[in-house]
Subunit: 322 residues, 2 copies
């Protein structure tokens, strides 16, 4: 069946939920039409504000995201949620909870929730997440909340997509501020001290403050600390206000522009890389060449650098044939 | 100063610690000589047995690795340890503990310990880890223990380097077997129930057994469960025996051969990808082209797919010039 990409894009722009769902499925599956669709939609993107929300397991990310989304909905905004679990490379088991939780918003057309975990041989989760965000952006979602588990490089790559990054902490979870992953400290625009009714919240806030004081000066925005109890909806308004303040302040600052440029540099490299890899392993020759070379290297008959160069030469030839 | 790679390789083969250290530093820094060195050493590799050790923070990985290494040393084997922290993409803060711990083996020339955390724009931690393992292999280390935090895709990629993978669990750490990351379950060859003097160890072992029973049948080796108390050196001998048993049984089996082939396919693709990326951003034109394209995309003047294609065309041209 021929796909009318222009009509599909138009449905997405009008916010048609089924068209949006279908687009996300196409993006995830690397459907041949997804690129054309994304290219068509691209000029309509760039209006949404993307929030990255990360934190260790048990910090209450899902609940916080739910409450923040509800807050934006109440203010009349369209919201998209992307729940990403980079720790589930093989199966989607760990995000079952997210799927269940989504049912709480069932029937509200102003909120769209999607959870992602799969990751193929080609292309990463960060790419797919970024493309899903583009679809939601084109569909008129004004706030896109990207939620991910706060560990590892994948998560850092995913959070880099965001305009503003929230890092969740919980008093007494064993991860005191000193042990916090350096990567997370550096990407946080706002620290959310969730479950802040718990013992140790004051001490944790003091430690965070001290650490922020010691951290190298950042141009423009100074990271803030907001206390919340997401399960009781406490502090959510303050958090939304802090996000708004960040947005206002960073709208025109050089640091934010540099961040966006860096963001697109990474994404372009990743896209080029992916197109390149697809060329290498495309067709029978590519796949069987890779198999043969891997066998020779495993048997120490060829070194891996020479083998990699043969793969490059193969890609080059497939270019010349075009 | 001209570098005599052949002499350097010879020093490494003879186990010279300073030459090995220098090689690892060169590999990590992507020093121009590192590739030639690795190519020279490659035929001397493939003899070491690589053990991947992973588990959530707090499972006692470092202690277990220390004790297992001591066990191998006592049996007269040369040992290399690579401690990788993929959650520290920016600074090496989190692995300071590892660096301190290494001093316990100071003075033993039969053990070499290196900790890694940095990850550059080009190439990943998995590549660097694999290359460091090659250096240690060529230097005559018979067992190479690669220790990494058990979360995220990076860690799975790193553990994939190993011939045999140990996954550490601890009773009552909040991560019961049901919640265990699917990815980790599937890569484990041996489950190590560490801190097994704790309450809940029996229940956890029973749960693991049940889960292994439900898991899809694996050809050849059936994953085993070994109980240890690493801090008291308990169960370490049993663990080493299980590893040996795995090694014997899998030496000629088809599953292990397929695993090695898959391993090299991934590594070759990653190497080709890296060489390709280096071509894209090499020289002034590449870097400034990337900057310009990212700027146009951020301003929505060009879509990312068209921009990525321009990058590919640039790489293609840089090929033709060769």
């Amino acid at each position: 069946m021929p796909v009318d990409v222009a009509a599909w894009a138009e449905q997405i722009r009008s916010g048609d939920i089924r068209a949006v769902s279908r687009a996300i499925t196409a993006v995830e599956a690397h459907d041949p039409h997804s690129e054309e669709l994304l290219r068509t939609l691209f000029p309509d993107t760039g209006r949404a504000f993307v929030l990255g929300i990360t934190g260790a397991p048990g910090t209450g990310k899902s609940t916080l995201v739910d409450r923040l989304a509800a807050n934006y909905r109440k203010a009349g905004h369209q919201v998209g949620i992307i729940a990403v679990d980079p720790t589930s490379p093989y199966t989607g088991g760990a995000i079952l909870g997210d799927r269940i939780r989504m049912q709480g918003h069932a029937g509200d057309a102003g909120i769209f929730i999607r959870s992602m975990a799969t990751r193929g041989f080609l292309g990463g989760l960060a790419r797919a997440t970024g493309e899903v965000a583009l679809v939601l952006d084109a569909a008129g979602k004004e706030f896109i909340l990207v939620e991910t588990v706060g560990v590892g490089q994948d998560e850092v790559d995913i959070v880099r997509l965001a305009d503003c990054t929230l890092v969740l902490l919980v008093p007494g979870l064993g991860d005191d501020v000193q042990n916090m992953k350096a990567g997370l400290m550096e990407i946080a625009d706002i620290f959310v001290l969730n479950k802040s009714e718990r013992e140790g919240a004051d001490r944790m806030e003091a430690e965070l403050e001290a650490m922020l004081h010691l951290a190298p000066e950042r141009a423009g925005w100074k990271p803030r600390i907001i206390r919340t109890v997401a399960t009781e909806n406490k502090g959510i308004g303050e958090l939304a206000a802090a996000v708004e303040q960040y947005r206002e302040q960073s709208r025109n600052d050089a640091a934010q522009r540099a961040k966006r440029l860096e963001h697109w540099k990474r994404r372009l490299l990743a896209l080029a890389e992916e197109q390149f890899l697809r060329r290498i392993i495309s067709g029978e020759t590519g796949e069987s060449l890779l198999d043969a070379l891997a066998g020779e290297v495993a048997a120490r008959k060829k070194d891996p650098y020479a083998a990699a160069r043969e793969l490059l030469t193969h890609a080059e030839k497939s270019w010349e044939r075009k």
